[in-house]
């Protein structure tokens, strides 16, 4: 179920990317898309009644039911990359705002 929801979130993000021309709104849409994608990936590793994949004194057998840690590691990396790209996009938007005085892509002239 959560996978359908996350795909719906991705579609919301893509809709925003297609319909908006404001740079900040585009960056927000991109982030919504990425969050949907990240939830989708985490949901792949979900196991019902699974434990956190950490060996502790209480759970120290590999025979126990753990959730898959790999998608979580993947999402962690994807989040970091996403933050980097958002920062770069915001820096570009700021620079464009300084030259053109607007965040609307359609109102910029000369490029």
């Amino acid at each position: 179920m959560i996978q359908y929801l996350s795909i719906a979130l991705m579609l919301v993000g893509i809709y925003g990317l297609l319909s908006q021309r404001n740079m900040i709104k585009l960056i927000v849409s991109l982030n919504i898309f990425e969050i949907g994608l990240n939830i989708f990936i985490v949901s792949i590793g979900f196991v019902k009644d699974g434990l956190a994949p950490i060996l502790t004194s209480n759970h120290n057998s590999s025979a126990l039911l753990y959730v898959d840690p790999l998608p979580q590691a993947m999402v962690l990396t994807a989040i970091v990359i996403g933050v980097g790209i958002t920062a770069l996009a915001l820096a570009l938007a700021r620079k464009l705002y300084k030259t053109h005085g607007t965040y609307e892509l359609d109102e910029m002239e000369g490029e």
Binding site: M10, I14, L17, M23, L26, L30, F33, E34, L37, F40, I41, I44, L70, P71, M74, T77, A78, I81, G84, I85, L88, A89, L92, A93, K95, L96, T99, L105, M108, E111
Partner: protein, 477 residues
């Protein structure tokens, strides 16, 4: 010989350059030369395909690098292209030394990696460096568009990879290929991941309609960024494409035709657009979009050797053409073909290098391009495909017309068909063109040499080792 050094050394260089900002160009130069030398040594000492585990985790559990003749060609191509571009555009490096070092690491990683998620990370790192590098062109609005499109595409790529992980429980390309062979997953089930991965790679590979960013970002690019995006980046991404199509893309006939149509449409539309353009760099970038389409079409039809030959030809000749065009545009202030009449009558060596590269791009006999295109067309005929060779030959004619039109304008300052008078000669002034001329000439000699020598050796080297590696690893990793 550990190929991981090719990735680690540029990364280390980038960190050193952050700390010691004053020596960043030196560090970058050393690491670029070192990478070329190291990849040549690896090619010479190459004994057989291997998978190198990273961090002590045996594949498929850990990340692995794949070193076979296919990735060797990739690293040679990427590193040599990067080194030459850096040599020709040293002055333009400026404050971008760190970004260039990171991009070199990422490009090597893209070619070498055997792990899908690692591939995503390297593509993202390469893309982020590309976004930053394109700000050099002062076309920030186009850079912003490129960033949005590129990030969306890598999101789609990651989605495709996640679906594949869900299906096979593995991220290792060879492991997935062997599981595919054993499990007998139907081609229908593979449609979803293949389509998403294809779309994700298509933005960087510049296929129409995903390559909408190219024109804005590259039409005013300088002799550093333009050649790098057109050659090094395109080569790395297209090689990944080939690696995936030959291992894990199990396609139904319908899907294969659909994707081939996208690639062929790119080829035809981009060649027609290039035909109609009046600026040197715009013509060249549409021509490279077309070549990407051709390479992808060949890969999709299973013609790995032909695709690699066409790719190598495109990288080598575009490297010269784009670097020279950007150089001329930087110094004369224009790259409008009609305003550059007779520029080569003064700079003959430059002109000879440009002409050889252009001839090779069209695929005239005596040049390497002929070998590549002949191989592509012949192997298509052998596989019983008749419409694709027809399209390739047709667009080659279009390509020939516009390239020769450019060459006659650039060599002849007067009217067509007449010897130009002395007065018609316009004065051009290029600064520091010696280095560029030498590079262009050396590449020109290599192109001619490779066009005359028989290619059977290259062909055997490529097909025997690369294919045997895949079939052998199918049996179990």
């Amino acid at each position: 010989m550990n190929p991981a050094l090719l990735i680690a050394a540029p990364l280390l260089a980038a960190f050193i350059a952050v700390i010691f900002k004053k020596i960043d160009k030196v560090v970058l130069g050393v690491v670029a030369v070192g990478n070329i030398a190291y990849s040549i040594v690896m090619a010479v000492l190459f004994t057989g395909a291997t998978q190198i585990a990273i961090g002590g985790f045996a594949p498929p559990f850990g990340i692995s690098l794949v070193l076979d003749s296919y990735s060797l060609i990739g690293i040679l191509l990427v590193n040599v292209a990067f080194g030459l571009i850096l040599l020709m555009g040293t002055k333009l490096v400026g404050r971008y030394g760190i970004v260039l070092a990171v991009s070199l690491a990422a490009l090597n990683g893209i070619v070498l990696t055997g792990d899908l998620f690692n591939l995503f990370v390297f593509i993202e790192v390469a893309a982020i460096s590309a976004y930053i590098m394109t700000t050099m062109n002062k076309q920030l609005k186009h850079t912003f568009n490129y960033l949005i499109l590129g990030t969306l595409a890598s999101g789609l790529l990651l989605f495709g990879i996640a679906v594949l992980y869900n299906m096979f429980g593995s991220l290792n390309i060879i492991d997935i290929a062997s599981k595919l062979a054993i499990s007998g997953v139907s081609a229908g089930a593979m449609v979803l991941p293949i389509v998403f991965i294809f779309a994700g790679l298509s933005v960087e590979a510049k296929l129409i309609p995903f390559g909408g960013w190219v024109r804005g970002v590259l039409k005013k690019s300088n002799s550093l960024v333009g050649p790098l995006l057109v050659t090094g980046y395109a080569a790395a991404i297209l090689l990944v494409f080939g690696r995936l199509t030959s291992t894990i893309f199990i396609m139904s006939d319908g899907l294969k035709i659909a994707l081939t149509v996208v690639a062929v449409a790119t080829l035809v539309l981009a060649e027609f657009t290039a035909f109609s353009k009046k600026n040197l760099r715009e013509v060249l970038l549409f021509s490279s979009i077309a070549q990407s389409g051709l390479v992808v079409a060949l890969f999709l039809n299973g013609l790995t050797v032909a695709a690699i030959l066409v790719l190598v030809n495109n990288v080598v000749s575009k490297l010269v053409l784009f670097a020279l065009s950007a150089k001329i545009a930087d110094d004369t202030g224009t790259d409008k073909i009609s305003e550059l009449k007779g520029v080569f009558t003064k700079y003959r060596v430059l002109g000879v290098g440009f002409t050889i590269a252009a001839m090779s791009l069209i695929g005239l006999p005596m040049f390497f391009g002929f070998v590549a295109k002949a191989q592509a067309v012949m192997s298509l005929f052998e596989s019983g495909n008749l419409w694709l060779p027809a399209v390739i030959l047709l667009v080659s004619v279009i390509e020939g017309i516009y390239i020769i039109r450019i060459l006659t304008t650039l060599w002849n300052s007067g009217k067509e068909g007449q010897v130009p008078s002395k007065d018609a000669q316009k004065e051009y002034k290029l600064n520091g063109f010696v280095k560029v001329s030498i590079v262009a000439l050396v590449i020109g000699v290599l192109i001619v040499a490779a066009g005359i020598l028989p290619i059977t050796n290259i062909k055997e080297f490529l097909s025997s080792d690369f294919l045997s590696f895949i079939t052998r690893s199918m049996g179990g990793v």
